[in-house]
């Protein structure tokens, strides 16, 4: 389904959009198409412009220049209350003086649906977010995870064409967050609405998205499927921000690849082999010394000092090794070997020239 998104209509289109807050450029001439029915993530560190982009789609901010299109309709000057999108807020923004029923039914009340109809739909919606019977409670009586579901129900009940989610899982603890990730994904499949999901958590973006955009300093670094972003990062920023990686450049890179161009190699792609093990084909190999060993339970992280300068991080599954055995390798000489195909040449200057 997500393999050929371009067959589908474009749900949201940002066209050469810039946003200035005073002298600060929050968004710098970005263009982006999001397709109908996609689960699309906007990933980036704080201040990278991801939330500003979302707020432009919602209508809470107005673009300084450029256009915002919603299903081919220019909505650049349309206020939020006239846009067919709904938002799940980071702080949930439930109305504290209203019951859960009034909160969830708020949009329907504005659309002047008859009372019994509102009651019925609110009931169905609470069923869907697995909080049936919570109608008469107040938001203050709910836990963080429950409030999050109510915020979702309140937005989805209006059948928006696009649902915007602004770091909705940020305030939840790890277990609950992972559970909600699965639930959100299931709900999105069920309702088939376009989801635009803002997060700073790269793992969350990788797990949930059909496609994602990586933001940095008000620009988009790369757009692609999670696999594309992770396996074929185009810039040093993407390689570094999404997952952990080794970025080698200059004379260190030159000694390995005979070219000074920067490349990235993921720590889990690297194997540690004995220096006297025979060479394998299509494998790049470099000698070094194990400087540090960090036992992480499922995996062990090794820090290798490459002969002649430079460091490499290596992550190995603890299939047979235990903590003691791993620690004992400290100071040993090893060769780090990886499939040559796993190396990614990076376009370091990409960001400055505007991708």
């Amino acid at each position: 389904m997500s393999s050929q998104p371009s067959d589908r209509p474009i749900a949201v289109s940002l066209q050469a959009v810039s946003k200035l807050f005073g002298v600060v450029k929050a968004l710098d001439n970005i263009s982006l198409d999001i397709y109908d029915g996609e689960f699309f993530s906007m990933l980036g560190p704080s201040g990278s412009g991801k939330t500003t982009s979302l707020r432009l789609v919602a209508g809470f901010e107005q673009a300084s220049s450029g256009r915002v299109l919603l299903y081919d309709k220019d909505v650049t000057g349309v206020p939020p209350f006239d846009r067919d999108v709904n938002t799940v807020f980071q702080d949930y923004a439930l109305f504290p003086h209203m019951t859960i029923e009034q909160n969830v039914g708020y949009g329907l009340m504005i659309r002047k649906l008859p009372k019994p109809e509102i009651t019925r739909r609110v009931g169905e919606m609470l069923e869907m977010v697995r909080l049936p019977g919570y109608q008469k409670r107040k938001p203050s009586q709910l836990s963080g995870g429950q409030r999050q579901r109510i915020a979702l129900a309140r937005a989805l009940i209006n059948h928006p064409r696009v649902l915007l989610l602004d770091e909705p899982l940020g305030a939840l603890d790890l277990k609950l967050r992972q559970q909600m990730q699965i639930e959100l994904k299931a709900i999105q499949r069920e309702v088939g609405i376009t989801f635009i999901f803002v997060t700073h958590d790269q793992e969350e973006a990788l797990t949930m998205s059909d496609r994602m955009a990586v933001f940095s300093h008000g620009k988009i670094e790369q757009v692609g499927t999670p696999t594309e972003i992770y396996e074929r990062p185009r810039t040093a920023f993407v390689a570094g921000f999404v997952g952990t990686t080794n970025i080698l450049s200059g004379h260190v890179a030159e000694r390995i690849t005979e070219s000074a161009a920067a490349f990235s190699i993921r720590p889990e792609k690297i194997r540690l082999v004995s220096p006297d093990a025979p060479n394998e084909s299509k494998t790049t190999r470099v000698g070094g010394t194990i400087r540090d060993v960090i036992y992480l339970g499922m995996t062990t992280r090794y820090l290798i000092e490459i002969d002649g300068g430079g460091d490499l991080q290596v992550i190995a599954q603890n299939t047979e090794t235990d903590s003691t055995a791993a620690q004992a390798t400290r100071g040993q000489r090893v060769d780090a070997a990886w499939p040559t195909s796993a190396m990614r040449l990076l376009d370091v200057d990409n960001r400055e020239s505007g991708a």
Binding site: G59, F81, V85, Q90, A93, H97, Y106, G107, A155
Partner: protein, 316 residues
């Protein structure tokens, strides 16, 4: 190395203060008493004490021949209280308090909203200063200043004369009941001064309530399709209502009890404050003065009960 340094750090020297602090640490109830002792003493003795003295006085009565207070419990004083003339005073004062409160809320809300939602930090500081600045000068000075401003020879009169629109002012002043010979001798003038004097007490609590309404709630309402008017009625006003009520308690009760503005401004029709002042002073009728003081207290209790019915304290 670092561990050795940590070990060689000297222990804090024992002192009497340390011992006292440790003793309080072991007796948490006593530290609570130390905290609340003085304020409780003040509240109970000075505040509640004077209030109950007042209440007791109101059940005594004045011997009309000797002019002495007879210290016997009875309702004779309250019989005197509910005469037609006195009820007139109560109604006039309550109406004035209501009008002042309503107008203050109407003026204060937009300003408080601007301060909470739009003003920059700098602008907010300036506005706070402007709101509070009048409170630094004497109340009496400000009231008399207004008397001059509103008088026959004052700047407002001058303004209407200069622009040859005197007829507007005359028209306003000829409204029966609230008009008069000049603004400073009319209920309109008194009303204006009341609004001016108590306005800060309305702005500050409304602003405090609005500051506590997160921006995201307003965005959420808009996001769900609520136009600004709808959002105001369904989200902003209900959440700011406790602030409006808090402010109105100030403006309402302060107007009910004030005895200077009704004396300086207006046509010397009696208000509750003036009446109490007269009865306890020149007339020497302390019991009736006390009974009259109970009136605003009762009105305030009724007012608070109505406010509670309207849900003013639900969000607290």
């Amino acid at each position: 190395m670092a561990a050795e340094q940590a070990r060689s750090l000297p222990a804090p020297r024992p002192s009497l203060l340390r011992k006292i602090s440790a003793w309080f640490y072991r007796h948490p109830n006593l530290s609570l008493m130390a905290l609340l002792g003085v304020p409780m003493l003040w509240m109970v003795v000075v505040y509640l004490g004077s209030l109950s003295a007042l209440l007791i006085q109101s059940f005594f009565r004045l011997d009309e021949f000797s002019g002495r207070v007879i210290r016997e419990f009875g309702l004779r004083t309250y019989e005197q209280l509910f005469t037609a003339a006195h009820i007139d005073i109560m109604l006039r004062t309550t109406l004035m308090a209501l009008a002042v409160t309503f107008t203050c809320a109407l003026i204060a809300f937009p300003l408080a909203y601007y301060m909470a939602r739009y003003a920059s930090f700098r602008m907010k500081t300036i506005l706070y200063l402007l709101v509070l600045l009048p409170l630094w000068s004497s109340y009496l000075v400000r009231v008399y200043t207004w008397k001059i401003i509103l008088s026959q020879e004052g700047i407002i009169s001058w303004f209407f004369d200069t622009f040859r629109i005197r007829f507007i002012l005359d028209g306003i002043l000829s409204i029966p009941g609230i008009g008069g010979t000049s603004l400073s001798f009319s209920f309109i003038g008194m009303f204006l001064v009341f609004v001016y004097i108590w306005l800060p007490y309305m702005i500050i609590p409304i602003n405090a309530a609005l500051e506590r309404v997160p921006k995201s709630l307003i965005e959420a309402s808009s996001d769900l399709g609520g136009r600004p008017g709808y959002t105001f009625r369904r989200v902003i006003l209900p959440l700011a209502f406790p602030g409006v009520v808090a402010g109105s308690i100030f403006t309402f009760s302060l107007t009910l009890g004030d005895y200077i503005i009704p004396q300086v401004m207006g046509n010397s029709s009696p208000f509750i404050g003036i009446t109490v002042f007269t009865y306890q002073g020149t007339a020497g009728n302390i019991p009736l003065a006390a009974a009259f003081t109970v009136v605003p207290v009762v009105i305030m209790v009724v007012y608070l009960l109505i406010a509670r019915r309207l849900g003013a304290f639900d969000a607290l």
